[in-house]
Amino acid sequence: MKLRDSRSFRPLRASFLSYKGLKVLWVLLLLGALLTVRPVSAAAHLVVSPQGPYRTIEEALRVAHDGDFIEVYGGTYHGNLVIDKAVTLAAAQTTEGERPVLDAGGVGTVVKVNVPHVTVRGFEIRNSGSEPDQDHAGITVNAPFAVIEQNRLDEVLFGIFVAQAADSVVRDNEITSQARFETGRKGDAIRLWYSPRVLVENNHVYQARDLVLWYSEGVHLVNNLIEDGRYGVHLMYCDNSLIENNRLLNNSVGIYAMYSRQVELRNNDLRGQRGPSGYALGFKDTDAVLAQANLLIDNRGGIFLDGTPFTPNSFARFENNIIAFNDIAVTIMPAVKGVEFSNNVFWENVEQMTVHGGGGKPTANMWQGNYWSDYDGLDADGDGVGDTPYISEKFFENMTDREPLLRALLYSPSAQAIEFAAASFPIVKPQPKFSDPQPQVNLPALPIESTRRSAGGMILTAAFLLALACGAFFIAYREKTMENKLAAPRDAEPVSPVQVSVRNVTKSYGKTAVLQDLSFELGAGRALALWGANGAGKTTLIQAMLGLVPFEGTIVIADQPVKSKGKQVRGRIGYVPQQVMFYDWSVQSTLQFYARLKRVSAARIETLVEQMGLTTHRAKAVSALSGGLRQRLALALALLSDPPVLLLDEPTANLDTQARADYVKLVGDLKQQDKTIVFASHRLEEVEALADEILWLDSNKSPRHLNLEEWRAQVAPMVELTLWLANGQRERANDFLNAAGWQSHLNGHGTIVIRTRAEQKLKALRTLASNGFIVDDFQVERQSEVE
């Protein structure tokens, strides 16, 4: 325990009621002052104005006597004014309402009051010096019973410095400090120094440092508006203070009382105190605190208590205050005990109570009958008091109390999760910080009118956002979206004799080479079949030609190198995969989508729909189409841009016989239209029907580029030739053939069957014809297939 004050404390007043007596005293004093200052008969009335009779205030003062009235008319009066006679110095009441200006030109204090009973009224006081050591001020009062009222103080370091001037009045002034300095370097708006019983009333203070009271007892602060400063009100060793009906807005700290006794705070409205220690009300080593019906809203902290109450038998009482929307409603130091909180409203504070640094005994303070917005109990008997106590136990709060850095994680789901986990597992259940045994459940009415916005703006905003959400649907399903710029017609391009050129192409997956040094060329209007077992590289080659997989070597399609002009190449290729996976749309939508991608006009769709026999299926969902129709749709899509090259990757693999036959016919027609076609297949009849050349891929051998005959010879070396001859000739012909070295026999159905190499079969027919046998009909059957 320590006592910071070297002065001796006066005995405490018995009761706060003594303030009434104090007020009576003031009234008497004021009356007395008026009587002394303005004795009706004796007092002279001196007039100062730029036109005279007195041109400067100093002139008037020189001739004035105590009690005289000096009236000052508009204009600017320079210099540092020292008032050493007990006069009333007042601005003249003019119709223009223009204030006379006292300007010190940035040097020293503007007005100094050195004798008792001086009144300074209605001036604009500006441009003091700015040395912090020298206390340069707008007005310095060094004698008791001064009245400083209705002045405007601007560009002064300190505002009004009341030093050893008991029983003075500071009223209706507007005070701000020198704008060029940051808050800490500015001066105090009002500073009291050993000046008891001063009344500070109805002043408007903004953008100054502090309103600070030092060693001044019985000060009454009422109806002031204090904004944007550092310490809104700071009491240092000020006993018997009454602070009421003040508004403090956006100061760093609100009202901070230190080393004082009997501090009464009533009906003050404190909002937006958000400095590093932004408490609305703070008390350090202060006794006999009574705070009633104050509004503490949206501050960093509502109430801060350190060493308060200071002496064991004293008290600190907080009653009927509304403490709302603060980060922390009440902060106490661990050693604080004996504080009483009753009938307050704790509304929507992020944290209701914290013990600075954790620990301590908050339960040594009394919480009784407060309203808690986070109370979750019931009031079954309807007596206005909750049936269960309000208990403050929050695990994450305890963590932030212990490690304030963790406040950075406030409002995170993780903080809530920790809270939830702590509530669910009693092992880590937090110690309750305090409890209110009789919480109020009825919210008292607000003593002030709250400002509420109209709902209109918000409803408009909500409507706008909902419209935004609907807008997405509009964009998504708008059929007539921006039609892509149509591709330039390619008619002008010279048709190169070589449409597909593959040179030295090698493709490996890991260490397995799929394509090994593959080279071939394919002319316009030619069809190449890719022949080979599964895994031989047919699909890989097609993907390489589309530029979908990286490879070594070069591929040039329709004069465009795949590697550098992939997009252009794909524009010149119609590609049909083994089984197209369509989006879940209708035939029409599908066609439109790809037409847009290929930048093809809608007219082209009409042509192809007809050509592919899809007219009756346009509205159907793609998923409802048969396999054959799907592949026809795929072919239609491939042909949208009328590409010179078609790549078909086993397009008939999943089709039935009829559909397959139809499809081969369609592709055959395309070949007639000079399309260059590369297709993979392992059906002999398809290859025979369509291919001009065959590329035989085999993972074990190097690729072979064959013509149809060579391919036939390799893929199906033996055929069975079945011949129909007239009855009379049949046996003779058979004998003749056998004699000529053919493998021939008669079968039971009236035919001759010759087994021969495929390339010999025509020779057999010719031999028979040249020897007079008439072959009515014949049929060829293959003996082997590579599958």
Binding site: S373, A445, A455, I459, T461, A469, A472, P577
Partner: protein, 274 residues
């Protein structure tokens, strides 16, 4: 890149994403929750008019932190992986497009869908707040932060999507990432704080690594024009950046968006298989 082609892909992707039921589930979930909170918060109408930042507003931010990343991540995870799984991606790649057109078309479409989802949630919440007389400008600022966060999570979802072949794998990975951003990352920060007791700058840095926390700081700043409620780290941020703070935070989120979309694009474009 041709804008027309990109927009065509974007429209298709938007159509696809708008059919994603999770998008609407999360958007409606957030909207309903915010609506309820707003109603509960104004149970004492006069007090709400005092106009402060209380537990209700904090809960709103909390709800946003839970739902908005889910929207972005789930939509993002589906964008490439599901098409790859269905086989439609191969056919799309075979069209006269380059990969950038496909990727950015998809990204734009998905982004529009995500913004629509967030707008729906905010629209519902806005109706709930209207009776309370909320501040539309603050609400729209909050919406802006939520859109940025949704796009960050969409970008991260796209990275996941570009790297996976199956939609279910991508969705699973997205949920794990969500868990990391929402819970596990913060637990790491708590551990680091308790162990190292970093200076405010270190603490702020720790917090700003997580885009969700960046969003949170931005949202709180929009609601109350200061971060001092977040303790030393918040004060440091205010002290260091002052009025530039929202721009710094927005730049961080935009950086995340650029980085995640860029990384997703590279993963998609450089992949040697379909």
């Amino acid at each position: 890149m041709e804008a027309g082609l990109v927009m065509t892909i974007a429209q298709r992707e938007l159509r696809e994403a708008l059919r994603n039921k999770w998008l609407w589930f999360y958007a409606l979930g957030f909207g309903a929750l915010a609506f309820g909170l707003a109603q509960a918060g104004m149970s004492a109408a006069g007090y709400a008019g005092l106009g402060g930042f209380g537990r209700t507003a904090a809960s709103l931010i909390n709800a946003l932190l839970l739902f908005v990343p889910l929207i972005g991540l789930t939509v993002g995870a589906g964008v490439i992986a599901s098409e790859r799984e269905r086989g439609t991606l191969l056919y799309l790649l075979a069209q006269p497009l380059n990969r950038a057109e496909i990727f950015f078309g998809k990204a734009i479409g998905a982004a529009l869908a995500v913004i629509a989802g967030v707008a729906l949630g905010f629209g519902i919440a806005g109706i709930g707040l209207a009776t309370d007389g909320g501040d539309p400008t603050v609400f729209l600022a909050l919406f802006g932060w939520a859109v940025l966060l949704a796009l960050v999570s969409l970008g991260i979802g796209l990275v996941i999507s570009a790297l996976t072949s199956k939609a279910s794998t991508a969705t699973g990975a997205a949920l794990i990432v969500w868990l990391v951003f929402v819970f596990i990352g913060d637990l790491g920060v708590i551990g680091a704080t308790m162990t190292f007791r970093p200076p405010p700058m270190g603490m702020l840095t720790l917090v700003l690594i997580n885009p969700l926390q960046v969003f949170k700081l931005g949202a709180i700043y929009s609601l109350r024009a200061t971060l001092d409620t977040l303790g030393a780290a918040g004060q440091f941020a205010m002290h260091e950046f002052g009025a530039w703070l929202p721009f710094v935070l927005a730049a961080l989120l935009l950086g995340w968006i650029a980085a995640s979309f860029g990384l997703a694009y590279l993963s998609f474009a450089k992949r040697s298989t379909v």
